[in-house]
Symmetry: D2
Subunit: 348 residues, 4 copies
């Protein structure tokens, strides 16, 4: 089947498998190996996470982000508790009620935000708004790093959030479906961006990062991971041939591809944003800090891009979202820049 | 990493990815493709199922058997209904309560069986045992084909079961984690073994059949599939890069590997069973009709096999289970035969 | 124990049991009677509902409004569906996530409203906002009649809502925790306000109406009631000594107390609202159409009322809510008027 | 409506409200009182429990036994845990899957017993049978005191069970729907029969004991009660006019009626059992230790009893169950004895 390059910037979920992940799957496909995570690849992948995070974290491998985040949230609260998140958080807007399903009813309490970033004030306001038994008690805060709008919480922001959480007795969960992009953006260590900043549980996304599938649930507080393996199993997230879910992580982490891939996507986004800055009628909706660029532009310009075959989403803020995956091709980025420049000039 | 051939017959979940599945994944790994099943590979895989089953069935792709079976059962009943199954059914014994979790509480009602096979009488007995509001109303019967003991329901048996189900207002679900082995065993068409015999929903196992992961939920009554896509999404079973879950199915079904793989496993089991028949102190626990052979033997013999490096499970009936996967190596089968022969003779 | 009359207008949940309900409980307390609803009182109560609604509806008796509404909503949708309601709907703001728990995850989609009233446009907007698999599909609309702000949907409004629901394939549920007050307000028949206006399921509140406990779930479309008895049982809402939950309904409905009680509360609210209309600094937040009056007033005036012993809530819109129960004492209403008049004059 | 005295011994759920409970409800029905348990009656009832149990236990009031037991079990385990119980335990056989529903999937593991009594050996066997992730991990043992067969665990038996539980890391829950009957039978203090014997959570039944409705969930380990109020609210078990659920407890406990009622039922059962002992063809199925008597007898004898208007259940062991409620009338017991004597003689 032919692949369609016009979809290059529609979504990082549209990208394929990177060589390092593929190579590891290939290497894992030799002979027989114990199932359900009792194999050597799974142990090696978990160790690679512990090395990466410089701590004895507990690691579990889920098939996708829906499950990873929903399982993690369910582990942090009971059905009569609630989860504080931004109004544009993926768990609220695009998971078809998965957190509520996995937790058997925990309510998501959303904060109205400009760009998807939570603040200590917003958390405090929501957490202290109600304390009666008729409203589910807040127990968890979940943040997306980078946000759905492509912005990155600084370490100082993270620390301020976690301090507020600790003060209020809330756990802090990080939805890191593009965790690597945030790391590459801040240039900090994974440890700094997580447990050293007070994050309790991280969902580290492998799919958008270049794998065929797979997200890791990383518990920095090991007590929170108690019996989590049972939870995964019961919820249909324990792979029988686990080695094929684990090996790609080995390929990504041991080779450094996880960070290279992310840095490449970020650089493409940066280059694109810089190249179209100042075009008439075109404006960035959000600061470009990871691998996404959101642009407002005249409707005719959007139409023109579509007519030239470009694909992009417009579900956040009405702007056009361009995502730059691990395999974004620079020459295609430049073609997109040229097309947009032409269309913007014509519209002006 | 080295693979360990002594595990050859421990479980078909220990096997790797067959060339046809691998090749399709490789072919699918070109450029960008829409996510969440909107890609061409997913459409092609679903069509391949419709061709295979000679009917316009609805097909959904789940990551593993736990989820496929639990989702299918949840779609067939409400939380206050119940599911009739054999006492040795995998959904009862080895899914950590997944059916109860996905259905929010549906109870499994187990029938005490010799070898895991349900009968019309057993179903009738259980379905009519209680009709008061204090006990969850039976709505579904689930059978495993082949059973966990490696036996295969004949077409006549299937038709008798489904007639009973229809009479009692029960849906019939088939857990086909080794569906291909049953097809190969009966030599019948997939259509004959399912909807033509009255099966409403099938979970067709791809993992043990030679894929890296993946089970298909096939609805023959399309009305039962209403909104099932939402169910999968909410439950964390919608792959973002779906093409990598769908393409292997294309490779398996279009090439005929699904049936060849199964036939090979069955033949190895048959050969092994025949070769050890009549050994002193060794006896088959169940008729060998698919790719499993369960043998009782003296404890010392089992010990001897383990001492020689062979791995096998003893969780059903206390016997040793030998599973023959799609890639079972005939020379290793013969080595196992020789070792068992030697040990049995020594024990006699 | 002494009762505290200063709480007279804090909540209609603070009121006691009316003579008609009490008398029926007393009459029911003779000898032995079958449990779990197999008794004569339960049958008679269900018949009383069918008489009242002039139709062969199905009736179930739940212990409280939390359960009645949550069970009804759960019966109308699956976990991956969603429920449209006003932002101030009790099911959203004061049930601790009960609808999400009973339905195993159905999301409530709230419409921002001024006074808690849904409109066809709001429903259409929300129902058609998303149609992708990543967001729970809307299946139910729930309205509160009268609203939490004490307003009543007219029959024309109800018919417009139900027409929209039917057009969009949505079921229409009515949370009638103060259903009788709405009936008394509109002066229409219960049938007109429900099934003749397109309501599918009603939760009819008995507690605030003068019973010790008890809400009736009334299905006008009997097909929707299939197996609902099992649902109630499993969810802990089937009373063993059901006669004591059913008899009060007989007392209320057969005597007409249900309507008299409500009319009295409404009249007190009307009288209070009329009496304080035009007081300086005091203003009604919402039209007074049932038994609630919401007033904005200076903080000092509120303080003054509290200092004189009056109790009231301020959780909606910041105003003071005064609720007039079936047993509101007119002389106390007048005392409250006098106190408020004095305080308002002092503040002016 | 007329009451039917032939149902006197069919079920203690068929009995009415005793004077002490009724009187307290009447006393509570004065004026207004705060809702949702903020009233004085609720505080007084909770204190009465703390006095009765001689410890600072946490007490919650649920509407019925289904909910009380299911909520308690759900508080003690997660969905991927399991609960050990006897095969004849009410939670297994007659709650329509309520424990599974409230816990979102916890599996009940049943022990085959003769008369419904668990033993340390049976618990150990089941708890240690499986320790892999594919089977829900045992976390709770639930026992019914007295059992569904009318037998009473001795204090020594209770202590042996709790020692085993503690050793294995299991919580011990007591379903005490007839708790008072067990206390009366053993002649021990409630404290001795619960926390002093190692019980963690008790569901104390008020309904069969003489109330209109109501069961108390008593946590002896207060940590286990954390946020349990939220759990009750979300699950539809927080009464708005709580005083009417709490006051009867005050009436029962402060007056001693709870124990008198139970002792009377026990004495009637004892008298009945003694009176029919030795009748030809009639034999007690279980030791008579509380208020139930199970008798095997010829089918014709059962028919004869029914023809004379007597009502009884035959769902356990095929025998006829006669239950003696708090209001069992001795002259009716004697009539039953005479009828049975006559019929047994005729059959011999």
């Amino acid at each position: 089947m032919r692949h369609d390059d016009s979809q290059q910037f529609a979504s990082d979920n549209y990208s394929g498998i990177c060589p390092e992940a593929w190579g590891a799957m290939e290497a894992a496909n030799r002979g027989h190996a114990p199932a359900y995570g009792e194999d050597a690849w799974t142990a090696r992948a978990a160790d690679a996470f512990r090395d990466l995070f410089e701590t004895e974290c507990e690691v579990f491998f889920a098939f996708n982000g829906t499950a990873a985040n929903a399982l993690a949230l369910a582990a942090l609260c009971q059905s009569y508790h609630s989860v504080i998140c931004a109004d544009s958080a993926h768990v609220e807007t695009d998971e078809c009620g998965a957190p509520e399903f996995f937790s058997n009813g925990s309510k998501l309490l959303t904060v109205r935000t400009e760009g998807g970033k939570l603040t200590p004030e917003a958390i405090r306001g929501l957490a202290q708004n109600r304390s009666d038994i008729h409203f589910p008690r807040p127990r968890v805060v979940t943040i997306t790093q980078p946000t759905e709008t492509g912005q990155v919480y600084s370490l100082a922001e993270l620390r301020a959030l976690s301090a507020t959480c600790r003060e209020l007795g809330l756990a802090l969960h990080m939805d890191g479906s593009r965790f690597a992009n945030a790391c590459a953006s801040l240039g900090c260590s994974p440890a700094d961006m997580t447990w050293r900043s007070g994050v309790d549980v991280l969902c580290f996304g492998g799919t958008k990062n270049g794998m065929h599938a797979g997200e890791a649930v990383v518990f920095f507080d090991r007590k929170l991971a108690e019996d989590f393996g049972y939870r995964c199993k019961q919820a249909g997230q324990l792979a029988s041939k686990m080695r094929f879910l684990a090996a790609p992580w080995v390929g990504m982490l041991e080779s450094g591809a996880w960070l290279r891939n992310a840095a490449h996507g970020n650089a493409c986004a940066r280059h694109f944003a810089d190249s179209v800055a100042g075009l008439p009628g075109v404006r960035a909706l959000f600061p470009v800090e990871a691998n996404a660029v959101f642009l407002t532009m005249p409707a005719a310009t959007m139409e023109g891009l579509r007519a030239r075959g470009w694909r992009f989403y417009t579900f956040i803020g009405g702007g056009a979202r361009f995502m730059f995956a691990w395999d974004a091709r620079p020459e295609r980025v430049d073609e997109l820049v040229r097309d947009l420049r032409t269309l913007a000039a014509a519209a002006a």
